[in-house]
C-alpha cells in the first residue's frame, strides 16, 4: 500500500515538473520573443529616463556611464535584480555619434 502511495506521489510530481518546464520554456519566453521588437521603436530611449513605459539600462560606451531607468525614474541596479533582459542592442547614437548599449528588462 505504501509503495503505491510513493508511486502516485512520484507520478504527480513528475507531471507538475513537466508543466513547470513547459511553462518556463514556452509560455514565459515566447511571450517576449525577440522578434516582437523593432529596434527603431527604442531609439528614442535615452539616459534622461523620460519614458515611463519601460525598464531599461543604458551603457554609454564613450564614458562607460551606466543609467538604469525604472518606468521613468532613475534607480540603482537593485531595482532590476528580479527582472530579466528581453532585448539588447548596440546603437550608434541619436543626434551625434555616441555609441551605447540598450538593454530592456521585463
Amino acid at each position: 500500500m505504501r509503495s503505491w502511495i510513493i508511486l502516485v506521489e512520484l507520478a504527480f510530481s513528475i507531471i507538475l515538473l513537466t508543466f513547470f518546464f513547459l511553462y518556463t520554456y514556452y509560455g514565459k519566453a515566447s511571450n517576449y520573443n525577440i522578434y516582437n521588437f523593432n529596434p527603431n521603436d527604442f531609439i528614442y530611449l535615452n539616459s534622461s529616463c523620460n519614458n515611463n513605459l519601460y525598464i531599461y539600462e543604458i551603457i554609454n560606451l564613450t564614458n562607460n556611464n551606466i543609467t538604469i531607468c525604472y518606468f521613468g525614474k532613475q534607480v540603482n541596479s537593485t531595482y532590476i535584480e528580479n527582472y530579466e533582459p528581453i532585448f539588447e542592442y548596440l546603437y550608434a547614437g541619436q543626434n551625434y555619434f555616441n555609441p551605447y548599449i540598450l538593454i530592456i528588462f521585463r
Binding site: I6, F21, T24, E84, E88, A92, Y96, P99
Partner: protein, 146 residues
C-alpha cells in the same frame, strides 16, 4: 519507516530538479546571431547616412568588443572606395566573397556580386561588408552594401 525515507528522497530530488530546470532556462533566448548581425548592418547604414563614413571604423571596434563580452564570435571584412581606416578593409581588391566560401549554406542572392572565382565585382556602391556572427549553437552570415 523505510518508505518515509524514500518519500523524503523523492521530494528532495524533485526540488533539486526544479532548481536545475529553472536556472538552466532563465537565460532566455533574448539574443541570437541573427539579431546581432542585423544590429551591425542597421547601425552601419545609420552611421553612414547620418554621421558620415569616418565614424564606421570607431563603431566596428565597439561592436567587436561588445560581441566578445556576450560570448559571440564576430568577424567581418569590407571593401570601400573611402578610406575607412580599418585594417581589414584596406585595399580596393578585397576578396569579399571568398569569405563565404567555407559556408556552404549561403543564400545565393548574397553571392550575386561574386564571380566564379569568388571575387566581388561591380557591387552597387563601394562600401560593402561581409560579416559572420556565431556562437556554439548557431551562426548568421550576410553581405550588404550601402
Amino acid at each position: 519507516m523505510k518508505s518515509q525515507y524514500i518519500l523524503l528522497a523523492t521530494i528532495a530530488i524533485i526540488i533539486i530538479l526544479s532548481f536545475i530546470t529553472y536556472y538552466n532556462l532563465s537565460p532566455i533566448k533574448n539574443i541570437n546571431p541573427n539579431l546581432i548581425g542585423k544590429n551591425f548592418e542597421d547601425q552601419i547604414i545609420y552611421i553612414y547616412q547620418n554621421f558620415g563614413y569616418n565614424y564606421i571604423s570607431n563603431y566596428t571596434s565597439y561592436f567587436e568588443n561588445y560581441t566578445n563580452e556576450i560570448n559571440y564570435n564576430f568577424s567581418f571584412i569590407c571593401i570601400s572606395s573611402y578610406n575607412l581606416s580599418i585594417p581589414k578593409c584596406s585595399g580596393s581588391n578585397i576578396n569579399c566573397c571568398y569569405y563565404f566560401k567555407g559556408f556552404f549554406v549561403v543564400n545565393q542572392s548574397i553571392l550575386k556580386y561574386c564571380n566564379e572565382s569568388f571575387i566581388l565585382y561591380n557591387p552597387p556602391n563601394w562600401v560593402c561588408f561581409c560579416y559572420n556572427v556565431n556562437n556554439s549553437n548557431s551562426y548568421y552570415i550576410n553581405f550588404f552594401c550601402i
